[in-house]
């Protein structure tokens, strides 16, 4: 692939260019004359807050949405993408934040479904292997997607795109689900791709990454183009200011309150794995006291999901005494009974787990509040009380949406997350268990969520945060434990540990081998967990 040069600007020629794109949804102008040029051989960052119009722009660039005005240029000539298939055919590949993979099928089957024609699976598997080796993506073609971690699924999506030999690859918040090592691997892949003259559009809110990886950054705010900058020349704070339009406060992490009673006690918790879904847990010990935030770091797929489900009561523990919530043995209690002990839970998956996608938000309020006083009396839902509660979430947590009471699926990720967090926080829990609090959420919303959790802790709530975002945990947790292969290290105060020690405890397999998690299996669990 040769890289042409744009004579006018002396920059590489743009492959895909948006010129003055405008898109309205009713009264809302989601994109207002936005222009963006993705040039051959460069990594271009798209930065913006929640609702800044990033998704709308990406959807127009790949044919999912049609602009009301403005045009797309492909290789300098006007291009019309009536649907995603036509953009794909021209060489525009997109990896969305929400993966479109079938759990029950193997990697190669999933890839085959997305490709035109009927290529025999073994031949396709060979092509996948080739792609995997070329770009260091660590994907095994014959594994079932249901067994894969989020990071592995993302690599499957990337491989699927790359098999179409795209000239432009769009990555929507790709690192929000990756460990530092996995992110490093992804960056290497991105560098390889741009080295071949391909262009990458990198959507992210992690400013340090953008500054390291990207050659150019376009900042959107409120649907408008704000600036195109060279991120390497800007400070993170400067970029954040452009995005938000004001200074972004860091989460205050000074502990000025007392650490109190233990609210969650986990003792020798064992959970058998159930085959393809959910890994096993081995002798988990954990104590969280009122007023503190404990973070659990770790690579996706090491038992965090199982841990969350066994804490929330979706899975029951064999020994009722192995989980004690606020002095009550809770291992054998279901979710509603655990909530009655004033525990609150926020799962990782927003759509389909934390919220029912096709039910209106006000109905989704009921999901976790139906056991609370005043919401349901004698089995009858008190609609008025639900609406009041709904309004309190919307106002107190700045949840933005169109319409009066839309379906959950119509909300952006950040707004739905604020809704889900608000729903739990307003229940005044004494224990909050949050899985991936800021998964794919923009900087301002993430800061808001962290501050909220911090405030709850200050009010005497015990907070457990499971996150793959190590920076996030280092920023606002009091103590950090690491989950690896179903084992949990003892939590240590953040001040007494380091990024490196935690990274080591995460398994140490990523990066060293490009076979990914299989390498981890050979590492004795808990090795390097000297932090304990």
């Amino acid at each position: 692939m040769t890289v042409g040069v744009d004579a006018a600007t002396d920059l590489p020629a743009s492959i895909l260019e948006a010129v003055g794109l405008t898109k309205r949804f009713g009264a809302l102008v989601a994109n207002d004359h936005v222009s963006l040029a993705i040039r051959a051989g460069e990594t271009h960052a798209l930065l913006g807050e929640n609702g800044a119009g990033k998704s709308t722009l990406v959807k127009m660039m790949c044919g999912l949405l049609q602009p009301d005005s403005g045009e797309l240029l492909y290789d300098g000539a006007p291009a019309f993408f009536p649907d995603p298939a036509s953009s794909r055919a021209r060489g525009v590949g997109v990896v969305f934040q929400h993966f479109a993979l079938f759990d029950a099928l193997t990697v190669v089957e999933n890839v085959a479904l997305g490709l035109p024609g009927h290529e025999p699976l073994p031949a396709l598997a060979a092509r996948i292997e080739e792609c995997v080796h070329r770009y260091g993506l660590a994907v095994e073609p014959w594994r079932r997607v249901g067994e894969l971690s989020v990071g592995e699924r993302q690599r499957v999506e990337i491989v699927r795109c790359l098999l179409g030999d795209p000239r432009v690859l769009i990555l929507d918040e790709p690192t929000s689900v990756l460990t530092p090592d996995e992110s490093e691997n992804l960056f290497r892949t991105v560098d390889l791709l741009t080295g071949e003259g391909r262009a990458v559009l990198f959507i992210s809110h992690k400013l340090d990454e953008v500054r390291r990886l990207c050659h150019r950054a376009t900042v959107l705010r409120g649907g408008k183009f704000i600036a195109e900058v060279d991120p390497k020349q800007e400070s993170s704070a400067g970029l954040a200011r452009l995005m938000v339009g004001a200074d972004v406060p860091r989460t205050p992490r000074l502990v000025t309150h007392e650490i109190g009673e233990p609210r969650l006690l986990v003792r020798k918790l064992d959970v058998a794995g159930d085959g393809s879904r959910g890994s096993a847990l081995h002798e988990i010990d954990l104590e969280i006291r009122a007023g503190e935030i404990v973070g659990i770091a770790g690579v996706a797929g090491n038992g965090q999901t199982t841990l969350f489900e066994v804490l929330s009561g979706e899975k029951l523990a064999e020994d009722p005494e192995s989980i004690v919530i606020d002095k009550v043995p809770a291992g054998a209690l279901g979710p509603t009974e655990r909530r009655a002990l004033r525990a609150g839970f926020v799962p990782e998956e927003r759509l389909g787990h934390a919220a029912a996608p096709d039910l209106p938000l006000s109905d989704n309020v009921l999901l976790t509040t139906h056991g609370d006083a005043g919401i349901v009396s004698y089995g009858v839902i008190r609609r008025g009380a639900v609406k009041d509660y709904f309004q309190r979430i919307v106002k107190g947590f700045d949840v933005r949406f169109g319409g009066r009471d839309p379906k959950a699926r119509r909300l952006s990720g950040g707004n739905l997350q604020k809704f889900v967090i608000g729903r739990e926080v307003l229940r005044k829990p004494v224990l909050l268990v949050v899985d991936q609090p800021t998964w794919g959420v923009d900087a301002a919303a993430a800061a808001f969520i962290r501050t909220t959790l911090r405030e709850k802790a200050a009010e005497g709530c015990a907070v457990l945060v499971i996150s793959q975002d190590l920076d996030e945990l280092l920023e606002f947790a009091d103590r950090i434990a690491v989950m690896s292969e179903g084992h949990l290290t003892a939590p240590v105060p953040v001040a007494e540990t380091s990024r490196e020690a935690i990274g080591l405890a995460m398994g140490g397999a990523h990066g060293a081998h490009d076979v990914g998690r299989d390498g981890a299996a050979q590492t004795p669990a808990g090795e390097g967990a000297d932090a304990s």
Binding site: D83, G117, E314, P335, H353, L359, L366, L367, V380, I381
Partner: protein
Amino acid sequence: MPLKLERQENVSTLRLAAAPVVALLVTLVVGAIMFIALGQDPVRAFTIYFIEPLGDPWTLQELVVKACPLLLIGIGLAFCYRANRWNIGAEGQYVAGAVLGSWLALATHGTDAGPWVMPAMLVLGAVGGALWGLIPAFLRVRFGSSEILTSLMLVYVAQLGLDYLVRGPWRDPAGFNFPQSVTFDDVALMPLLFEEGRLHGGIIVALVAAAAATFVLGRTLVGFSIEIGGSAPRAAAFAGFDERRVTYGVFAVSGALAGLAGIIEVAGPIGQMQPTISPGYGFTAIIAAMLGRLHPVGILVASLVLALTYIGGEAAQISMRMPFDVTRVFQGTLLIAILAADVLVRYRIRRVEGTSHA
């Protein structure tokens, strides 16, 4: 050129509400073509099918009598279908309820049992239907078998069981060897609402059931747990609703209402046990449930529409010598039209380019 269905994000309530109406119109067009192919005048056929029954007080009553089982069964099915549990075996649950209820009628036959017999029969009818409905629920919960298949197959088991009973143990000794039971005693018969005609107390039961279902589905936590279990099972588990309990619950309700419909029909319009006690109410009610958007009020309207096809079909049999199968074709066409309309409202069809043109 391959076609692809794409989910539409914004589906207006108007379009969702219009879908059944459009489906009805499509069915009429298909029906007209069918009549022409049969060498009949479609205008005359439609007049006999859909207009004449509405002008006659006797047939109007008959319309309500036929709508009654459809309404009862359809409401029960709405519980199942909202929970994404596909009970196709309401016909069998209808028969099972009729059999258990009739057992009491026959056991007390000729005794001086009091007016408690009829209510007790209704209870037994509901219990019989519920038990029959719980079998596929159990098989699904315990073994993960498809309730679509098991519930459907149990229809034939129930029908053959009934056949055995009326040809064997329950046959009226004084009935000239006809496969039917004795005619029920008065205390075992549904009371009539009016001196004239066949309107019976079962209609009241059905209307009460519709009102109760509207309340339960729309206003209670139980209704909410059914709805969310169907639309987002993982979120339902997170909310603390037990999927197994919902499965058992909706099958029990659905079976009970079908069983109730069965015993009401036997103790009402029929008055005795015979090998065939339903012109396929249990299957037609599936159409009523879908046409009525799984909402009790909608199902009420849909039941009347479908009852009309039964009445019109009988009239056409007599005056046009049309086979009763024409009615079945009508009902089947209607179901397909509804399902197609639903898909077309929620999705749009797009042509997919087979090969790249880059």
